[in-house]
């Protein structure tokens, strides 16, 4: 499995740390309801098919990445830097 880091190019999966669903980007406000925090931290659509999740180029450039990929075929659809995504 390979991910194409926007800075480093295609690299083997072992260079990357997987965090989880991109839900982690949408951190609720400090005063949000407990249900919002439960959903943020725990509940997942967990789709068999195209998903968006977060990876870190741990052994590379240190970028956090938003990855679109397919959990059934393992196809990588796109890899973008979180920082650019957020900007």
């Amino acid at each position: 499995m390979r991910l194409t880091c926007p800075l480093c190019g295609p690299r083997d999966r072992r260079e990357f740390y997987y965090y989880g669903a991109a839900d982690y980007l949408d951190r609720p406000a400090a005063d949000a309801a407990p249900e919002a925090w439960d959903a943020y931290l725990h509940l997942r659509d967990n789709i068999a098919g195209p998903v968006r999740d977060l990876w870190y180029h741990d052994q590379g450039c240190g970028s956090w990445l938003v990855v679109d990929r397919d959990t059934v075929s393992h196809e990588m659809l796109s890899v973008r830097a979180v920082a650019e995504d957020r900007a």
């Binding site: 800075l7 480093c8 190019g9 295609p10 690299r11 083997d12 072992r14 260079e15 180029h57 052994q59 590379g60 450039c61 240190g62 970028s63 830097a81 920082a83």
Partner: protein, 183 residues
């Protein structure tokens, strides 16, 4: 007052020489990490330009006089060599500066077998078209975080964390022995 003696990271571990490849310690001198703050990349580049250095694009490195500048990660470059103090001082407001001179063990792997040796430890596409002279990558050397630069057709500069120098040399030596045995 007594002075403190310096101990190099690799010390007596190097050199290692086999048929087709040599591994020697590099002494790159001062290593300054430069990480520009938001919106400061252009200002930083302008200051570096005064030293004859280009801000390196990802995966590249450049040379300016006795200095070299290597891309070293997301929004980060390493300047190798003594950056004139006034320039360094001017960078301070534009970028996070840290002294990385002592953080790394630097070594050079060279010889006709160098690429084959490195292919035992590094997952990068090292073919010269994909990783030409001057190319830089942050990539693991087996299980160790590393920075790799191709400094010639048969020549690679390798940086690993100082504390892992012994393991790095040991693993490179094993790969060199194996490649040499294949003849």
């Amino acid at each position: 007052m007594a002075s403190l003696i310096e101990t190099p990271p690799c010390g007596d571990l190097l050199p290692v020489i086999v048929t087709g490849a040599q591994l020697v310690e590099l002494r790159p001198g001062p290593v300054l990490s430069i990480a520009p703050f938001h919106g400061q990349a252009a200002a930083v580049a302008a200051i570096l330009a005064e030293a004859g250095l280009d801000w390196p694009a990802p995966g590249t490195s450049g040379v300016g006089g006795s200095l070299a500048c290597l891309w070293a990660g997301r929004g980060t470059a390493f300047v190798l060599g003594p950056l004139p103090e006034p320039l360094a001082a001017r960078l301070a407001g534009h970028a996070a500066l840290t002294d990385q001179s002592d953080a790394w063990a630097a070594m050079q792997l060279r010889g006709p077998a160098a690429e084959a040796v490195l292919a035992r430890l590094v997952s990068l596409d090292l073919r010269i078209a994909a990783f030409p002279e001057g190319a830089v990558a942050r990539a693991p050397l087996n299980h160790m975080a590393a920075l790799v630069r191709r400094s010639g057709a048969d020549r690679f500069d390798l940086w690993v964390f100082r504390s892992m120098a012994q393991t790095a040399v040991h693993e490179l030596k094993a790969a060199m022995t194996s490649v040499a045995a294949r003849g």
